[in-house]
């Protein structure tokens, strides 16, 4: 994992499928301050494309990194405003 950022909070949405990973990520991001980094753990393979698309189309968030391993898809989202 990258050492370029510190994780502020982790959201575990393992087991949940579309649209919940994106919807719960949005809800979690709304509770965080600017600069915070949210780690999202999902088992839904569609979350790779969905969270990427969501971050690109939503203001105030930036997708830092996505990683896959052991059936878990990890997403790192920074709150920018």
């Amino acid at each position: 994992m990258s050492a370029e950022f510190d994780i502020t909070e982790t959201l575990d949405v393992k087991g949940a499928s579309c649209p919940m990973p994106v919807v719960k990520t949005k809800a979690a991001v709304d509770d965080l301050d600017a600069g915070a980094v949210l780690e999202v753990l999902a088992t839904d393979s569609g979350s790779m494309s969905d969270i990427d698309g969501w971050a690109a189309g939503t203001s105030g968030v930036e997708l830092l990194e996505q990683a896959e391993g052991d059936g878990v898809y990890k997403h790192y989202v920074r709150v920018t405003e």
Binding site: G15, A16, C18, P19, V23, T25, A27, W54, T58
Partner: protein
């Protein structure tokens, strides 16, 4: 070919300085237009008309996802779409086994009594096995995210439903004019 014509054309053309000024003006206008459109929240308007289990999902999934993107979302429920908002009926939405070529049952058998119950059970089990959100979860989540669910007043009366039958937070007392107004202002309009 005469050189006079060419000279005349050059004389009529705007000077480089004039063009530069014009470009500057247009750039300013473009910047203004961009700022204005960025200030405006994007909107989505969905009309939900179906009340079968399979057709209840698309409007709810799209509504909650659009809300996650920051869209202001309204879903106008009319006819069988009302059942999605009906607290009791939404928990017992059925799947039709007749007229659905995707079902692994021939129509002649699908029409037999009890078949809808069987296909609905099959689907409900799949939803459960896959950890797909239930209709109730999607409605509660969407409401939390600010989605406005509207129940068409005319069909509430037609179906003999009561306003208290719907989930808390559902807007009643609205009609087609409200839906049209939402659609006119929306960036995305869908009929499901």
């Amino acid at each position: 070919m005469s050189t006079d014509t060419q000279d005349a054309a050059v004389d009529d053309a705007p000077s480089r300085a004039e063009l530069a000024t014009r470009v500057e003006q247009l750039e300013e206008q473009l910047a203004e237009a961009r700022t204005e459109s960025e200030d405006d929240t994007q909107k989505m308007s969905i009309i939900a008309t179906k009340g079968t289990l399979d057709m209840a999902y698309p409007p709810l999934i799209l509504a909650s996802t659009a809300a996650a993107f920051g869209y202001e979302v309204t879903v106008f429920h009319t006819f069988w779409g009302l059942d999605i908002l009906h607290e009791e009926r939404s928990k017992h939405l059925k799947l039709s086994s007749v007229g659905n070529p995707n079902m692994p049952i021939p129509n002649a058998l699908a029409a037999l009594p009890g078949m809808d119950r069987m296909t609905t059970k099959m689907m409900a089990k799949r939803i459960d096995d896959n950890d797909t959100a239930t209709i109730e979860e999607l409605i509660e989540t969407s409401l939390d995210m600010g989605v406005e669910f509207q129940a068409c007043q005319m069909t509430i009366e037609l179906m003999d439903y009561d306003e208290d039958d719907f989930y808390d937070g559902v807007t009643t007392g609205v009609g087609a004019a409200t839906a049209i107004q939402d659609m006119a202002e929306a960036d995305i309009q869908l009929l499901v």
